[in-house]
């Protein structure tokens, strides 16, 4: 099954990540060559590289492009790792924060906070406002996750069809309530609501990066430490227990960290669906299902995907930008169908 060695795959992803980074920060109204990018970055730490650049390039890179790419890396990596961990936890490849309504729950909390809490939080400084929003979206994500988890567990096992149906219900409820708030919103609020429901990295600033850092780095570095329990869970909860794994603790950590990073991502960039579904799947096809390799490589691949998707969004109809949620859904939804069809085939073969 291990058609590609894990190491080759890891090296390839790191190379891709560097290429995507250089391409993305260099592309746009102001072009910046890869060498110039390196020179500008080197200048920040006091080094001089033999590549000339002007002040406009420097400020575009440092103030606009760089925070945007960093946000893409943080969100892409953490969503992919959370998706992979959730699939391990639920023992099903279709578990994705977007599909089962967690992103909608977070986005609903965001919209509610924007419309209802506009006056309440406006005196706060930028980072604190962002943290408030992050906490609200985190609460929205966590509550939704717990509801979905409780409802889809029937006598100790998560029934995947129930879970997806609960996801449909949560998505419908969230979109109705979001619609209600949209209807009552003023123009400025309306724009930010559209931004939240379709997703965009357009507003990325260094403040956003600060707001995201703790909530996205935690899942990226902590979840891979749960590889053993996640692998053992593939043999069922009882066997995981026989192997001495603390599955209850692993479950709690996956649920809380997923809610954290989905909440924080939604607060900064709105709903970006399907990353957590598509990336772990591709990585699993390449290197197999062992979570020890799957989780870190998914983080890398998620970062590459989101940088590239964002690049497509802002260059296709330049100077106007397409919401990134559209791109990830355009790629992700057919992929979801493909998994369903493939699983149908194997199910038929098994009979």
């Amino acid at each position: 099954m291990r058609s590609l060695s894990v190491n080759i795959c890891a090296v390839a992803l790191v190379v891709l990540l560097v290429l995507a980074f250089l391409l993305s920060v260099g592309t746009g109204a102001v072009e910046i060559a890869p060498l110039q990018t390196l020179a500008i970055l080197a200048k920040q730490v006091g080094l001089t590289l033999p590549a000339g650049f002007d002040g406009q390039q420097e400020s575009v890179l440092l103030q606009i492009r760089l925070p945007r790419v960093v946000v893409a890396v943080l969100i892409g990596a953490s969503l992919a790792v959370s998706g992979a961990s959730m699939q391990g936890l639920f023992r099903n490849a279709l578990a994705d924060p977007g599909l089962i309504g967690i992103s909608s729950g977070a986005s609903l909390a965001a919209v509610f906070t924007i419309v209802a809490g506009a006056k309440l939080f406006s005196p706060l400084p930028g980072v604190a406002r962002l943290y408030t929003l992050s906490i609200a979206t985190f609460a929205g994500a966590l509550i939704t996750m717990l509801v979905v988890y409780r409802l889809s567990r029937i006598s100790g096992r998560v029934v995947i069809s129930t879970m997806l149906l609960v996801g449909i219900a949560v998505n419908a409820l969230a979109s109705a309530l979001t619609g209600f708030f949209t209807y009552n919103a003023n123009d400025a609020q309306l724009r930010s609501i559209i931004f939240w429901t379709l997703g965009s990295l357009g507003g990325a600033t260094w403040t956003n990066v600060l707001g995201l850092l703790p909530f996205t780095l935690l899942p990226v570095f902590v979840l891979p430490r749960l590889s053993k329990p996640l692998n053992a869970l593939a043999l069922g909860e009882n066997t995981a227990l026989h192997l001495g794994m603390n599955t209850e603790q692993a479950k709690r950590i996956v649920i809380v960290l997923t809610a954290l990073c989905v909440g924080a991502s939604v607060a900064v960039a709105g709903i970006i669906g399907f990353v957590g579904l598509v990336i772990p799947h591709i990585v699993r096809m390449l290197i197999g299902p062992d979570h020890r390799h799957l989780l870190p490589l998914s983080a890398l691949a998620g970062a590459v995907l989101l940088i590239s998707a964002d690049l497509v969004c802002r260059t296709t109809f330049a100077p106007s930008e397409m919401p990134i949620g559209i791109i990830t859904a355009l790629v992700g939804a057919p992929f979801f169908l493909y998994i369903l069809i493939r699983d149908r085939k194997t199910a038929r073969l098994a009979q």
Binding site: A232, A234, G236, L241, H242, L243, G244, M245, N246
Partner: protein, 267 residues
């Protein structure tokens, strides 16, 4: 030593186990026998702490279950289930390595790799080591799990006695492999370890068990040596079916046969 004292278990008002006690000594294979629904699997789950009994106490190695840390207990106690469902395409070697999970933190040590190799060989599946688990037959899959549980309790470590609980270890296996599994269990027990196995095949129990616990409707009908417990009277009652124990000079062990009454055959 595994001790169960006055174990009772109920689901609602239905009594599943009623005041069952037994002791499994190091060095012996204890076979748990009984008809469907006699409470065998429940008893095994209570022994490992998966289910909490309504009354009674379980002790492994002289310590109550509650006083063991999960990981510590897993280092010396392995469970082979009747059926283990795995739907992810893990390579066989990796599934067997899961048996070593209680022993290493994040990365397997050289010893773990060696043990996995030996366990694969012992279960006769070293050729399958790099195959995808999902592509194996049911019998091959069962042997992968056999290798996994043996890998789990391969070395004595901090606890001298190791414990192996098996729920129908011959499930899905052909006759020669059934004997192979029980031979492995017997050798493992003979090294000073404790084996408790639920068996369906009474003749296997006669040949491999050192002691037998015969359950009937949640209660212990009889326990003792196989020869003493597995007589026609006990068996007919336990299985609610007429049974014959056939003694023959050409075999080392008596042969147990269901003596099908003619009325049942003709209808």
């Amino acid at each position: 030593m595994i001790q169960l004292k006055d174990i009772s278990y109920r689901i609602g008002n239905r009594v599943i186990l009623d005041n069952v006690s037994f002791t499994a000594q190091p060095g012996e294979v204890l076979a748990v026998l009984g008809a469907n629904g006699a409470g065998k699997s429940t008893l095994l789950k209570i022994t490992r702490g998966e289910l909490k009994p309504a009354a009674g106490a379980v002790a492994i190695g002289g310590r109550t279950l509650g006083s063991w840390k999960q990981r510590e207990l897993a280092q010396c106690t392995a469970v082979l289930q009747q059926q283990t469902i795995l739907t992810l395409p893990f390579p066989v070697r990796e599934v067997v390595m899961m048996g070593r999970y209680p022993h290493f933190k994040n990365t397997p040590a050289a010893l773990d790799h060696t043990i996995v190799k030996s366990a694969l060989r012992k279960a006769g599946i070293e050729k399958l080591a790099d195959r995808n688990y999902l592509e194996l037959s049911g019998g091959e899959q069962q042997r992968v799990h056999l290798a996994r549980v043996f890998a789990q309790v391969w070395t004595a470590g901090a606890h001298k006695t190791r414990y192996l609980l098996m729920d129908e270890p011959g499930n899905n296996l052909d006759i020669s492999h059934q004997h192979h599994v029980l031979h492995m269990a017997k050798t493992f027990a003979a090294a000073g370890n404790c084996v408790i196995a639920i068996l369906h095949d009474l003749n296997l129990a006669l040949q491999y068990a050192d002691r037998v616990l015969l359950l009937h409707k949640g209660a212990a009908l009889a326990s003792g040596t196989p020869e003493a417990v597995l007589n026609e009277e006990n068996l007919s009652r336990a299985y609610d079916f007429p049974m014959t124990v056939h003694y023959s000079d050409s075999f080392e062990y008596p042969i147990i046969l269901p003596a099908v009454p003619k009325t049942l055959v003709t209808t």
